[in-house]
Symmetry: C2
Subunit: 211 residues, 2 copies
C-alpha cells in the first residue's frame, strides 16, 4: 500500500523548522546550516561522511518514493512566483528524481529537469494534492517535502503515515514552528526516539494500524 512519508525534517529544541527571515541568501534565515549540519556530516551527503545512525536515517529519503509534494516556500525564496526563470534551489538535476508537485496559487507549466524530476505547479488542498501525487507515484510512496507549514498541514489533515523528525540541540527562538496546531498528534502513532552521538535525536512517528 502506498504510504505518505516525511523524512529528515529538522527542528530546534524549541520546535522551529526554519529561522527567519528567509531569503535567497539565507533559505533558513538565522538558522543558517545549523539545522542540517548533522546531515551534511553523513555519507548520504558526502562520500567521506559518517555511516552511523544519522546516515541510516538520512538514507531513507529516497527509496520507495514515487512522487513528492512540496510547499511554495520550499521551492524558492519569497517572490519566486514573479520570476519566470526560477527553477528551484537545486540546479539542473534536483535531488527528487520523481514527479514533484509544488503547491502554489500561481500556476505555471510543468518544468522538466534532469535526473527524472519534473516540477508540477498545483493549486490544491492537501488531500487533493495527495490524490494527484499518488496517481503519479504509480503505487510507490509519496513524500511530503516540507517546508514546515506544509508538513503541519498534512499532519493536521491526518494524511501522514510516517514522520521522521530530527531534533537539533539548539534554541532558535524564532522562525516557523512545526508542532503548532498538532495537539495530541502522538495518539495516532507509535513514537520512537533515538539519540545520536552527534547530539541530535531522531524521532519517528509510525501510524498505528487501524483497529
Amino acid at each position: 500500500m502506498s504510504r505518505t512519508r516525511i523524512h529528515n525534517l529538522a527542528i530546534s529544541l524549541d520546535g522551529f523548522a526554519t529561522g527567519e527571515p528567509q531569503s535567497l541568501e539565507a533559505p533558513f534565515g538565522h538558522a543558517g546550516h545549523r539545522l542540517h549540519a548533522w546531515m551534511m556530516a553523513t555519507r548520504y551527503w558526502s562520500p567521506t561522511g559518517s555511516t552511523g545512525v544519522d546516515d541510516v536515517f538520512a538514507q531513507q529519503f529516497g527509496p520507495g518514493i514515487g512522487a513528492e509534494i512540496m510547499g511554495a516556500n520550499k521551492f524558492g525564496p519569497p517572490g519566486w512566483q514573479d520570476d519566470a526563470d526560477w527553477k528551484g534551489w537545486w540546479g539542473p538535476n534536483p535531488p527528487f528524481h520523481t514527479p514533484t508537485f509544488v503547491l502554489t496559487h500561481h500556476a505555471r507549466p510543468p518544468l522538466e529537469m534532469e535526473g527524472g524530476t519534473t516540477f508540477h505547479f498545483l493549486e490544491a488542498s492537501p488531500a487533493e494534492a495527495l490524490e494527484v501525487a499518488r496517481e503519479a507515484a504509480g503505487g510507490q510512496d509519496v513524500r511530503i517535502g516540507g517546508g514546515p507549514t506544509m508538513a503541519r498541514d498534512f499532519l493536521a489533515a491526518g494524511l501522514v503515515d510516517h514522520l521522521h523528525v530530527v531534533q537539533v540541540p539548539i534554541v532558535l527562538g524564532r522562525g516557523v514552528r512545526l508542532w503548532d496546531g498538532l495537539e495530541a498528534l502522538e495518539e495516532g502513532y507509535d513514537v520512537e526516539a533515538v539519540s545520536s552521538p552527534t547530539g541530535v535525536t531522531h524521532l519517528t512517528f509510525t501510524r498505528k494500524a487501524a483497529s
Copy 2:
C-alpha cells in the same frame, strides 16, 4: 564550588512544561500526569520501579543540594497566597529536606515542616534569591525547582550551571513554554542527549568552563 542545578524538568515535544489551566485538582492542567509518568515508573519514585537510565537521572535530584528556590506557581494553585493554611502540595514531609525559598510578592513567616524542609517566602530577583539560597546551602548546590517560568528566568539571567530536561513524546499544544526567550542558550553549554527505551529523551546542559 556551589553550583546551580535544575533537575527532572519535563517538557512535551512542543516545549510545554505544564498544560492548562492549572488548578488544585489539576496542577499540570490538561497535561495530567503525562509529563511525569516516566519518573513514576522509576525506583526513585516507587520501590518496584525501573533502575535504568530514567532512574539514574531522576536520582540526581537530591544529592549535593543544600537549598531549593521555587516559583510561587510551584508552591500552590492559583490563589494559595490568600489561604493562610496552605502549606504546599506535599503534605507534612515535603521531598526537599533543605531550606526552600518560595519567590512571591506575598511575604509570610517561614514554615518549618518535617524532614528538614523549611519554606521561606521571599520577594527577590533571581540573582538576589540565589545569593540568599547559596548562603543557606552552606557550600552545597542550589536547586532551581521550577515551575517553567522560574526556570526560564534563571536560565535567561545566566545563573544555571546544570540543566536536565526530559522530553516526553507528546504534543501538548498549549500551556507554559520552557524555551521562550532563550535563543542561543546552547552556546554557553555542552549539550548531551540520550533517549530511553521508555520513549523519553534526557537532555543535559553543562555550563562550559570559563575560558
